[in-house]
Amino acid sequence: MKSDKPFVHLDHVKFSYYSSQGEVEALRDIDFSVEKGSFTAIVGPSGCGKSTILSLISGLLKPTGGYITFYSEEFAPPKIGYMLQHDHLLEWRDVYKNILLGLEIKKQKTPQNLGLIDSLLEKYNLSDVKHQKPSQLSGGMRQRIALIRTLALRPDLLLLDEPFSALDYQTRLSVSKDVYDIIKSEEKTAILVTHDISEAAAMADTVILLTKPPCRVKDIIPIEFEKHGISRDEVRNSKLFQQYFDKIWRELQNENTNQ
């Protein structure tokens, strides 16, 4: 569950890269922390380097300035799970073998881990499709399989890089809810990057708003449905949801019109 201890802290992180068009300053000053067990959403204008932040946290990219610090009780660095925009299920493997991909790469096909996969499949009603081909599954199911592939590595922190944006609206609603439930029931910390304001407001405890590039943190908005006794299942129908939505929308709108 949510605790007040910081888990990840980004301390004035900067990131620039070089291209033949010149140096690009993607992130100017990113400063926020994420608490253990929380669900953070990062929202910002398109092309503002939201995904870059996830790549930096995961270590795929190194910041050109500032620090990223992880706080954990163990000495080992936290394990990070990544979910990409497309599920990238490999068509030559069946569902089960796709889920095994991460364990194969990490050489961790232990009985415990295989057992975890079976129990996750069981728990989320996906055991029946275990030996099917990815092409036989719906988009929503594929994305849930991709989540289980990520969870099989027992990550402490989940990075979700617009994982629902390739789905149609109906599917997106139901899959985002499923993914939310799975993440909460597995007690994972998650950071979601999205351009969908309603998705951010419906899923997150905290929404971090970014400016246009070069990117800074514009605002950090706590989302407090629980305090008002609104369950996550029905947030989308609540007045508070509308208020959060409007607030985020207005700020983004300002960002797009201000020069």
């Binding site: 795929l60 799970g81 990544y82 990238h88 490999l90 030559w92 790469i105 990490k106």
Partner: protein, 269 residues
């Protein structure tokens, strides 16, 4: 959808017509072939054409039976088959090795790409005389000729296919903690198996072409040698028989690879 058990009259009619049409196509092909043989035989029996130059189906069949009996034909077929098979295998092994190496070291790949493009567009038979000077006549030259036709294109195509692997999928491997070797074994190579099969399909044909060119110029055995030898001593029965056997070989190889292709494609979807 499965066919319904109680299909309607119209559906039955449609199925019957479709089956009849398939049968018609099948038998008409056989008829065309038989008609051609009959016309050819008649023309040469009635001396419309000179059977010295054009031979005749009966003469070819007689020669076939005779040469099979004295084993000479089988050994020539065998030589051509193993030379083509070996050329094909060497093409595949070298191409996979080179394309893999180039994928791991893209700067080296980029360095060699234009040379491969030039070599690939060269008419490869132009290389044959050079190979003869270097290696003399015999199977080594024939096999090198067999390889030369396909290998540059095969390396090039395979390398370019490897290079075009979806970057997001490679990122997936990174996010799962994989290294470059795992990117290759888990994504790049398996994803390109269908490309590999279709390249194999093309290259088995090209290996056969190359081997025949090689046997024309430097062989002392094989169907290519029989064709050249037969034409020089005006034994045109022998030439045409060899060509017919080549047709059959090409057909069989195509059939085998097509079957393999279909099996793989089914798995890769």
């Amino acid at each position: 959808m499965k066919t319904q058990i109680n299909s309607s009259e119209g559906q039955k009619n449609y199925m019957r017509k479709a089956r009849l049409h398939r049968l018609f196509i099948f038998w008409s092909r056989i008829l065309v072939f038989a008609g051609f043989l009959a016309l050819w035989q008649t023309a040469s029996s009635l001396k419309w054409i000179d059977s010295f130059y054009f031979s005749s189906p009966f003469a070819i069949a007689k020669l076939f039976v005779h040469d099979i009996r004295d084993m000479s034909l089988l050994s020539h077929i065998g030589v051509t088959l193993w030379e083509s098979g070996l050329s094909f295998l060497l093409i595949i092994v070298f191409s996979v090795a080179a394309a893999t190496f180039f994928w791991f070291y893209p700067s080296i790949g980029k360095m060699f790409e234009p040379f491969l493009i030039v070599l690939n567009s060269l008419p490869k038979s132009a290389l044959a005389p050079l190979i003869i000077v270097w290696l003399g006549t015999g199977p080594r030259t024939v096999i090198l000729c067999g390889m030369s036709v396909g290998i540059f294109g095969c390396i090039l195509n395979l390398y370019q296919a490897f290079e075009q692997t979806d970057a997001e999928r490679l990122k997936l491997i990174e996010t799962l903690g994989g290294n470059k070797l795992q990117k290759f074994t888990k994504i790049v190579f398996p994803q390109n198996i269908p490309t590999f099969i279709s390249l194999a399909k093309v290259n088995i044909g090209l290996a056969l072409v190359g081997v025949i060119i090689g046997e024309f110029l430097a062989g002392r055995q094989g169907l290519g040698y029989l064709i050249i030898y037969g034409s020089q001593v005006f034994k045109l029965d022998m030439v045409i028989l060899s060509i017919v056997i080549l047709c059959v070989i090409a057909m069989l190889l195509y059939g085998i690879l097509n079957l393999l292709n279909r099996k793989v494609i089914a798995r890769w979807q």
